[in-house]
Amino acid sequence: MDTSDLKLDGNAIAGTMRELFGIEMTVAPCVCRSCGAREVMACVDVYVNAPGTVVRCRHCQSVLMTIVRGRDRTWLDPSGLRLVELPS
């Protein structure tokens, strides 16, 4: 197994995102703060092998978001995202 085997995509966190936000997020466009690339949430790179979940931009590999689950709470750091577009 090399590191590419550990790389998934945004579909892998669809359940977690829906749990946290209450909506289907894989079709939500998001913009990378670092390179400005715009992709739907399904098309980000997701690494679930770290102690938390690390979400990276597919184009520049910058960290978009990290998600750490605790027993009774979740810490979500979205600081690598400039924008997430949600339906009204």
């Binding site: 790389k7 892998a12 399904a42």
Partner: protein, 249 residues
């Protein structure tokens, strides 16, 4: 935006296993009864959670294999170092309960609503969500042409082989193209070798026909398939991909 409506909280439910069927030596299909199941769309998945006696929890996502309107079925491949799949493939029995939440996902979904051709590309157990799409196409009598390009390592690892053969025989507009990457039985009439530009040049529609494309497999498989299709002139956003943590095709 389809699939993006407010859905409310995603809650864990105890599903009951009603049947289990061996597909290959490492792959099994599990039929589940889920209370309050709202129905699903072809391509969606569920999350499954196992809890050990000491409270340790492991959670994984599994694609739904059945068509909308059919009983919920998951097809699971045993990963030798997996935390969840060996239990699902080897231990779980009809009558057992298991924690499930879903359906989940709105991107990797094909409803067959338009008549455009659909090119489905599967590596190994990546065929599972694509099978839900094919079964949906068969059940609804949609006229959308479908081609499944399905890469397996050996003939014995082809999942749903007889059902796929039967569907292709009985339904005009559904074509199945197998390729085997590791070994081929005597008299193998399908393709040989990995999915790439050469194979797609023979079996993929030209980009001008604007097919919708769904690729599911390991990360390496998905990246190779998407790269080959983009090389043929496919527009990257037209290629929907889903990667999983399993073994390849």
């Amino acid at each position: 935006m389809a699939g993006a409506a407010v859905l409310g909280r995603l809650t864990w439910e105890i599903a009951q296993v009603t049947a289990a069927k061996e597909e290959t030596a490492r792959v099994r299909t599990i039929a589940l009864d889920v209370p309050h199941w709202p129905g699903h769309r072809p391509g969606q998945h569920v999350d499954i959670r196992l809890t050990a006696e000491d409270g340790y929890q492991a959670q994984r996502s599994y694609s739904i294999a059945s068509a909308p309107g059919e009983q919920l079925e998951l097809t699971v491949e045993r990963l030798e170092d997996g935390e969840v799949s060996p239990y699902l493939v080897d231990e779980l029995r009809p009558g057992d309960g298991i924690e499930v939440r879903g359906p989940i996902g709105g991107y990797f979904v094909w409803d067959g609503a338009d008549a455009r051709p659909a090119l489905l590309v599967a590596g190994g157990s990546g065929v599972v969500p694509l099978m839900a799409m094919i079964r949906h196409r068969v059940m609804t009598g949609s006229n959308a042409p479908i081609r499944l390009v399905y890469s397996s390592r050996t003939a014995g690892e082809i999942i749903y082989r007889s059902e796929l053969d039967e569907i292709a025989r009985r339904h005009d507009g559904v074509e199945i193209i197998h390729t085997l990457t590791r070994e081929q039985p005597n008299g193998w009439a399908g393709r040989v070798g990995r999915i790439g530009p050469e194979l797609f040049a023979d079996v993929a529609w030209p980009p001008s026909e604007a097919p919708s494309v769904y690729v599911c497999g390991s990360t390496g498989f998905v990246e190779a398939a998407a790269e080959a299709l983009v090389g043929m002139g496919y527009d990257p956003p037209s290629i929907r991909t889903e990667r999983y943590g399993g073994t390849g095709g």
